[in-house]
């Protein structure tokens, strides 16, 4: 099979927009043979994270790569921005269903859809979110 492991990097907000991100992630997750539900979850998660970048930083980077761990194969998506940063991550992660636009909905939802979720943020510096989904 291909020796080159999948690795794609795009600039959100300049090179591509949210619709394009969804398309790209959909293509890739299909290629990696995720089942349709897993595909949909990954694309949805990527969409949520991309929105946050656009809303709170205007632009950022998305890195989509295939990773391996013993016998598992997975898709790892990293979303980075140099935007406002999140002052209180725990608060942002709380479910905020009726709270309209708040960051809460995007992040907590994303975490529920993925197998691994990692976030790092600093006010004034930016935010980095890493999500992973394993192919079953």
């Amino acid at each position: 099979m291909k020796n080159q492991k999948l690795y794609e990097k795009h600039t959100i907000g300049i090179e591509i927009d949210i619709v394009k991100v969804r398309q790209i992630v959909r293509e890739i997750s299909k290629k990696m043979r995720f089942d349709i539900v897993a595909q949909t979850k990954v694309v949805t998660a990527a969409s949520e994270l991309t929105r946050n970048v656009l809303e709170y930083a205007g632009k950022g980077e998305i890195i989509i790569e295939e990773i391996n761990d013993s016998h598992k194969r997975g898709l790892k998506i990293t979303v980075i921005d140099k935007g406002l940063g999140i002052p209180d991550i725990n608060l942002a992660m709380e479910d905020g269903f009726s709270s309209g636009k708040g960051l809460g909905k995007g992040l907590s939802g994303t975490k529920k859809l993925m197998d691994k979720f990692y976030i790092q943020s600093e006010v004034g510096k930016g935010t980095e979110v890493v999500i992973v989904k394993w192919v079953v």
């Binding site: 949210i18 619709v19 539900v37 939802g109």
Partner: protein, 124 residues
């Protein structure tokens, strides 16, 4: 990237058929257009009693669109119109449930035909 989702009036219903995936701006524009149209039609006596949103073509519905649809449904209700959302794919339904997104205020149906049936039943 200028997209528009067409809104058609058939009888007393407004039919909104998604023809492609849309970005947030286009979605907001849709919401505005839709609510304005209901208002206009009602004002000119043409009465809108139902809104049907057809999502058949979409392979993803994230939290933004989910909330937007709820908002549309709620606005429509205040203007005496019912909203039915049709064509949600199984994978999307499962994902929406996982996200905890209810399409509050909206009815759901499998397809346009069922959807119109529901709107007609509700009107009666």
């Amino acid at each position: 990237m200028s997209q528009r989702i067409p809104i058609i009036k058939i009888g007393e219903n407004l039919i909104v058929t998604f023809i492609s995936d849309i970005d947030d701006l286009t979605a907001l524009r849709l919401q505005k257009e839709l609510t304005e149209k209901i208002h206009e039609e009602n004002r000119s006596g043409m009465n809108v009693s139902g809104v049907l949103i057809d999502l058949t073509i979409l392979d993803i519905v994230d939290s933004f669109l989910g909330r937007l649809i709820s908002n549309i449904a709620q606005s429509a209700t205040t203007m005496n119109a019912n909203t039915v959302v049709v064509g949600i794919r199984p994978a999307i339904a499962i994902t929406l449930v996982e996200l905890g997104l209810e399409l509050k205020g909206a009815y759901t149906a499998l397809n346009v035909e069922h959807g119109i049936e529901i709107l007609n039943d509700l009107k009666a």
